[in-house]
Symmetry: C2
Subunit: 213 residues, 2 copies
């Protein structure tokens, strides 16, 4: 859902940390520089020049490979999805959803607000928008195992629309923090998880729901 | 939730339509011009100059009264909330929530995409962000009567947290269309309403939920 692999601590990694030659090293440095600039100055302060200078990569290389600021942000988001993240496995549907919601809330309220800044940037750049959509699609796809496990445990019947259940559980966190911009509610991650689990127990999210009317 | 009063049909209203003197007429013309420009060119095409020209209002007046593009957008959003909108009253909790969700989905997918453009603009301008928050807060407050009516009808027990129920019902629509940007799902408004109503029947949204753990 969120990009836990995002780092913005600043210093460029050495070649030992990220093997793969100069191209890979340059990418790592540029991504770190974008995150650091975004954390410090937000989207409006993000330029190809400051990123190139901070990364220690030649401007011409940055322009050639990433094109523009949207290209930089899209690559940051693509890199964030290129990890081994798996959703929490707590032993129960409600527990998994709550743990997931806490991860999302933590990411959306982290300081510096890198994740929030990337979401905001997706309203400014078509490339960033597409990359953000790809990242979310990948995260929600990975989370479907939460529902499969609940079915295997007998917590849920088969034929549940996993994506709708996951959206119901997680959407309130994004809605409150990204759109309504209300202060973080420490109870919301658990409550939203419990609501989705209760609705599932009461018969929601059945794939054949449309036929029941 | 959404600003049903938004109009973007273009021509400035005559004095008969909106009484109140030149100041009120100028405001109406400027708001119509902002909506029309936003619909045609989006945020990036919105300037004080084009709005003034389209509205037929002197540039100096526009600058003095609205300050900048953020001020224009904030006034559009404030004007949208200055209406007599009330949530649908269909006779059942699930029906009210479904009708509300259809209104939201219609507004978010309307052409021209004025509501979507205003939400996107709230990521660009602090003034627009605050006005968008005020508008949503007002809309959600008006919607609480949906829950009160359900309690009066005996559909829900007393002590339900109305706002959390409303957020659960409506958040998936915003999440899918504004953040995940998936194509509109014609079944989603009804399904999300049904999910919230099922969860409520199963014991979610109780104001004392935190004490139950």
């Amino acid at each position: 859902m969120t990009p836990p692999a995002l780092r913005a601590e600043g210093p460029a990694p050495g070649p030992r940390r990220r093997p793969g030659g100069r191209t890979a090293r340059n990418r790592a440095r540029v991504i770190d520089a974008v995150l650091a600039e975004l954390a410090e100055h937000g989207y409006d302060g993000l330029t190809m020049e400051t990123v190139a200078a901070r990364a220690g990569v030649h401007r011409a290389t940055v322009y050639r490979r990433w094109g523009d600021v949207g290209g930089l942000l899209a690559d940051v988001l693509d890199a964030a999805g290129d990890d081994a993240w798996q959703p929490p496995d707590t032993g129960s549907l409600e527990g998994d959803l709550a743990a997931l919601n806490h991860e999302i809330q933590d990411a959306l309220t982290a300081q510096p607000p890198v994740v929030a800044a990337l979401i905001a940037a997706s309203f400014r750049s078509g490339k960033a928008e597409h990359a953000q959509r790809r990242l979310w699609e990948d995260r929600y796809a990975r989370c479907e195992i939460i529902v499969s496990r609940a079915v295997l445990r007998g917590e849920l019947p088969a034929g549940i629309d996993a994506r709708r259940l996951l959206i119901t559980a997680t959407a309130p966190i994004y809605h409150q923090l990204v759109l309504l911009r209300t202060p973080p509610d420490p109870d919301l991650p658990d409550q939203a998880a419990r609501t989705a689990a209760l609705a599932a127990s009461a018969g929601a999210f059945r794939s054949d729901e449309g036929d029941l009317k």
